[in-house]
Amino acid sequence: MTNFWWIIGGVLFALLNTAAGLIWVERRMLALWQDRYGPNRAGPFGLLVVLADTIKLFFKEDWIPPFADKVVFVFAPAVVMLSVLMSFVVMPFAPQIIVADLNIGLLFFLAMSSLGVYSVVLGGWASNNKYALLGAMRGASQMISYEVFMGLALMGVVVLSGSFNLREIVEAQKTVWFIVPQFIGFLIFLVAGVAETHRLPFDIPEAESELVAGFHSEYSGMKFGMFFIGEYLGITLISGMLVTLYFGGWLGPAFLPPVLWFVIKTFAFIMLFILFRASMPRPRYDQLMEYGWKVLFPLSILNLMVTAAIKLWLNT
């Protein structure tokens, strides 16, 4: 039982530090890819910029606009942290390091990511501001659409492994990682994952060049910090999920412990997310929806049907 609390504490500690550290990693990597220096003054390699940012966020005036819906306004940033952190409950970091070994793990992840939509929607609505409302509406339609393809893409993995349990899914990849038989599913999940975390290039709910700051225009101080850190946690979550579902989770050659394999693979994907941000332009809102419903949706259904057909054919 004490072991259990250690796992929860360890996972929380690692996640929150990763999310905070990503502030620095992202800015440095973006600078590297864009031929700039990035934050390099405070501390070694500019690492203390994380501390400076945190202190700044804590000491900023925590302002609630008088025209806002107060309760919902305060509640919205908590939802993003809650839903993302809850998703990590089912994530298998290593054979023994998993908080809850649910047999509906994958569905739990989908459920939590669908609840995450509320943070964007409620934050934008409660701000009672035109830009925020526009951002929230874009966010709601984007996330609710891409959730569909995300779920359908994941079903290919479920068909192959025959389980919703993430630990069993990882163990089913002992011979070959699911990236090989599920390459199309992987691509769809990757695109949908970027859209779910509303990261660039799909940061349409924020779109600072058109909507001020979108759904969190009115937020300041630690409430904004929650959205900010929630986004980095979301990146970590989607990267971890990509690794668990398609890249064999903790599996890897035995010279490194399983946890380390998981961390290395996850960080590779986090880097990919940052590279996306550094290199891609933002599509228009209608282009995003069209791409989703006219390309990804048929593709994900086709992927699921072909996978199921091959699986049935091999079994008989």
Binding site: I104, A111, L115, I144
Partner: protein, 176 residues
């Protein structure tokens, strides 16, 4: 085994549902409805239906309610609609529904007091069993539901179809 967790979840569900009915602000009512659905999901989980619980959260709390909130946001109902709700929901209006509810409650209490059998042992239904049931004995219902949804999608597409765009203002009124 069910004990306190069930009673807490059930109490939250009932309270949240009461709040849904009594709120004047439609957004707050919808948020309470989300809470109520989540509580029902917990109850389903406790009764050994984890798959249904997950679907309840994904489909009801995560998709349908978001859509409803999306529409409410687009309608931008503000103070005026709350005032109107207040006008509609006069105390007198509550009398008849409350009467019906009291009768129902009395019936429920009577039934609960009648039967003292212990609840059946909780049997956990895994996703595989749900799938087998849906695509085995209940395949006809699944197909019918699918057809209904298909009709809905086709209807929605028809309603949302855009008129042909005319590129010049002189051509706008000419029906081709």
């Amino acid at each position: 085994m069910i004990g306190p967790a069930f009673y807490i979840a059930a109490a939250i569900a009932v309270l949240a549902t009461i709040m849904v009915i009594t709120r004047y602000n439609i957004m707050h009512a919808l948020l309470y409805l989300v809470v109520s659905l989540l509580a029902v999901a917990v109850v389903l989980y406790l009764y050994g239906a984890p798959f249904m619980a997950a679907l309840e959260v994904i489909v009801y709390a995560g998709a349908i309610m978001v859509l409803l909130i999306f529409f409410v946001m687009m309608l931008n109902l503000g103070k005026e609609s709350a005032e109107q709700e207040k006008l509609w929901l006069k105390p007198r209006i509550w009398i008849f529904p409350s009467l019906l509810c009291i009768i129902l409650l009395g019936e429920l209490v009577f039934l609960v007091l009648q039967n003292h059998q212990p609840a059946a042992e909780v049997k956990i239904v895994d996703p595989r069993a749900v799938g087998m049931a849906l695509f085995g004995p209940y395949i006809l219902a699944v197909e019918l539901a699918g057809m209904l949804l298909m009709a809905g999608i086709v209807g929605a597409y028809h309603l949302g179809r855009q008129k042909e765009k005319t590129l010049h203002r002189f051509l706008e009124n000419n029906e081709l």
